[in-house]
C-alpha cells in the first residue's frame, strides 16, 4: 500500500528530519509510528499524503510513485485525522463529515446519506448532524474528525496523534472505537502517537523511531519482548510490558486445571476476556497459584496460573 525506499528529508541543510528510511505498509495493517518528539514520525506521516515532499528516495502509494500522483487526487484517496481535529467551525457536523465528498462534487443526497451513516459508525446520535463544532466536547469532536476522514471511503487513513488532546477516560473509549472501525472496515491505518500504551494497544505493527530513523519495527510481541535495539528497549521498556499485560486477554493462556485441584475447590474466577493483568493481580492479592476462567456465558473454560503465561507464543 505504502512503500518508502531510502527516503531522506531535511527542512534545513544539515538537520535531517528523516534519514535514509525504508518502510512498507501492507494492505490491512494498522501501523503505529512512535518515538520521542522530533523523531520525525509526523513528518513521515505527512509524506504519505504529499503534505511534505522528500528530498531524496522513492515513495510509492498504492504501487504508484508519489511524483506520478496528482497531489490533490492523492490526498482525496487518503483519509486524514489530526490532533487538534481541525473541524471547520462555520460548517455543521453534517457538512464537516461530508466535506471530502463536497469537494469532489458529490450530490446532496449522497452527502446526506453518507453523513448519517458515518455519524452512527463513530457512535454519535443523528441529531448531532445539525450542530456546530463548538457545541461538541473534545471526544465528540474527535469522533467527527474520524467520521470526516472516512467520508470518501479511502483505503488508507492517516492519523496524526488523533487522541493527543482527549482526556484519559475518553481516550480509552476512542481507542476501542478506532479498533472496532479498523476491524469492521478493513482499512489500512497509519497512526502517530507518543503514548506507548496506545501504540501497544492499537498497532498490528509498531514502528519505533528516533532521530529520523527506524530503530525497531515489528508486532506487539516482538517490540515488547524481542527488541533488538537498545533504544527501543529503553523506550518501550516496562511501560510497554505493562501495556502488553493490559491488552493480551486471558483466553490466550488458559490451561487445564492442575491435576490435584478440582474445579469445585476453585473460589476465584476471572473472565476469559479480561486482560492478563487482572488474573495476575487476583493471584497475588489472594496468595493463590491458580484461579478459574469462565467465558462470557459463564461456562468454565479452564484455569489461569502464572505458569500458564509460558503458553504465550511469539
Amino acid at each position: 500500500m505504502i512503500e518508502f525506499r531510502d527516503v531522506s528529508q531535511q527542512y534545513q541543510a544539515g538537520k535531517p528530519i528523516i534519514r535514509h528510511l525504508s518502510l512498507t505498509v501492507s494492505q490491512g495493517e494498522f501501523v503505529v509510528l512512535i518515538g520521542p518528539s522530533g523523531c520525525g514520525k509526523t513528518t513521515l506521516l505527512k509524506m504519505m499524503n504529499g503534505l511534505i515532499k522528500p528530498d531524496s528516495g522513492e515513495i510509492r502509494i498504492k504501487g504508484k510513485e508519489l511524483k506520478a500522483w496528482d497531489p490533490i487526487t492523492l490526498k482525496r484517496n487518503i483519509g486524514y485525522v489530526i490532533q487538534q481535529v481541525g473541524l471547520f467551525p462555520h460548517l455543521t457536523i453534517e457538512k464537516n463529515i461530508a466535506y471530502a465528498l463536497d469537494i469532489q462534487k458529490a450530490s446532496e443526497t449522497v452527502k446526506k446519506e453518507r453523513a448519517r451513516e458515518l455519524i452512527q459508525l463513530v457512535g454519535l446520535e443523528e441529531n448531532y448532524l445539525a450542530k456546530y463544532p463548538n457545541e461538541l466536547s473534545g471526544g465528540q469532536k474527535q469522533r467527527v474528525g474520524i467520521a470526516r476522514a472516512l467520508a470518501a471511503d479511502p483505503e488508507i487513513i492517516l492519523m496524526d496523534e488523533p487522541l493527543g488532546a482527549v482526556d484519559q477516560i475518553n481516550r480509552g473509549v476512542l481507542q476501542d472505537e478506532i479498533i472496532r472501525i479498523y476491524q469492521t472496515l478493513n482499512k489500512t491505518i497509519v497512526f502517530v502517537t507518543h503514548d506507548i500504551e496506545e501504540a501497544i494497544k492499537l498497532g498490528t505493527k509498531i514502528v519505533v523511531m528516533n532521530q529520523g530513523e527506524i530503530m525497531e519495527m515489528g508486532s506487539r510481541d516482538a517490540i515488547v519482548f524481542h527488541s533488538k535495539s537498545h533504544f527501543a528497549d529503553d523506550f518501550i521498556g516496562n511501560k510497554g510490558f505493562l501495556s502488553y499485560l493490559n491488552i493480551v486477554k486471558i483466553e490466550q493462556v488458559v490451561c487445564p486445571f492442575n491435576g490435584n485441584v478440582s474445579e469445585k475447590e476453585i473460589t476465584l474466577w476471572v473472565s476469559a476476556a479480561d486482560p492478563l493483568i487482572v488474573g495476575i493481580r487476583i493471584c497475588l492479592e489472594n496468595g493463590v497459584n491458580q484461579i478459574g476462567v469462565r467465558d462470557g456465558a459463564g461456562q468454565v473454560v479452564g484455569a489461569f496460573d502464572l505458569g500458564c503465561l509460558s503458553r504465550l507464543k511469539f
Partner: protein, 213 residues
C-alpha cells in the same frame, strides 16, 4: 431654541432640495463603496498568499491614508478635473485601507490546523479559499467594510468642495453664505445616513458572527 425651530423650518420648506442632495450623496457613496469592496477584497485575497506583497500593499495604503483629504481632493482635481469622477477616485483610495487590511488579516488568521485539515483532505486552492478561508474570514472582512462605509459616507461630504454633488453642497453653501442652519442641516443628514448604513451592516455582521463562532 430659535435655532432648532429655524432648522426644522428649513428642512421642511427646502425638503426637495435636501432629498435631492441626499440621493446624490447616497449614489456617490454607493458607487465608491462598491468599487472599494470589490477592489479591496480582491487585493486582500491576492496578497494573503504572499507576506512580502502584503507588507508592501498595506504599507502603501497606510501612507495614502495619512494624506489629508483636502490635499488628496486638490491633487486629483489637477489630474482628473472637478466633479464626481474625481470625488469617487479620492473616496476609493481612502476606503481601500480598512478593507484590504481586514481581508488580509481575516484570511491569514484562520487556524493553521483547520487549513491543514482542509488541504490534507484534498481541497484545491480555490476550494480552500471559497469553502474554508473566506467564510471564516467573513466577520473580520465585514467589520472592515463597515468602518469603510461610515468613513466614505462622511468623507463624501467634502466632495462638493471639488464640485461633486451630495450633502456637502448644503454644508458648503451654509458656510459660504454664513447660513448656520443650512450647514447644520447638511451635516445632520450626513450623520444620519452614516448611522443608518452602520446599523444595517451591524445587523449583517451579528448574523454572520453567530454562525461562525
Amino acid at each position: 431654541m430659535e435655532f432648532i425651530k429655524n432648522l426644522g423650518e428649513l428642512l421642511k420648506t427646502r425638503s426637495d432640495f435636501f432629498i435631492e442632495l441626499l440621493l446624490q450623496h447616497l449614489v456617490l457613496s454607493l458607487i465608491a463603496i462598491v468599487i472599494i469592496t470589490v477592489v479591496g477584497v480582491t487585493t486582500g485575497v491576492l496578497i494573503a498568499k504572499s507576506q512580502k506583497a502584503a507588507s508592501v500593499v498595506i504599507g502603501l495604503t497606510n501612507v495614502l491614508y495619512t494624506i489629508p483629504s483636502i490635499a488628496m481632493f486638490g491633487f486629483f482635481v489637477s489630474i482628473t478635473g472637478i466633479g464626481n469622477t474625481t470625488a469617487i477616485i479620492a473616496l476609493v483610495i481612502y476606503g481601500l485601507l480598512p478593507v484590504i487590511r481586514n481581508t488580509y488579516v481575516g484570511l491569514t488568521e484562520v487556524d493553521d490546523q483547520i487549513l491543514e485539515a482542509a488541504v490534507g483532505m484534498g481541497s484545491t486552492p480555490w476550494q480552500l479559499l471559497s469553502k474554508i478561508q473566506f467564510p471564516l474570514a467573513l466577520p473580520v472582512i465585514i467589520a472592515g467594510i463597515r468602518s469603510m462605509v461610515v468613513m466614505t459616507i462622511a468623507l463624501a461630504g467634502i466632495a462638493s468642495f471639488i464640485g461633486a454633488g451630495g450633502l456637502g453642497v448644503a454644508i458648503w453653501r451654509g458656510i459660504t453664505t454664513n447660513f448656520d442652519e443650512m450647514t447644520v442641516a447638511g451635516s445632520l443628514l450626513v450623520a444620519l445616513l452614516a448611522f443608518v448604513a452602520d446599523g444595517i451592516l451591524g445587523i449583517i455582521e451579528k448574523r454572520l458572527l453567530r454562525r461562525t463562532k
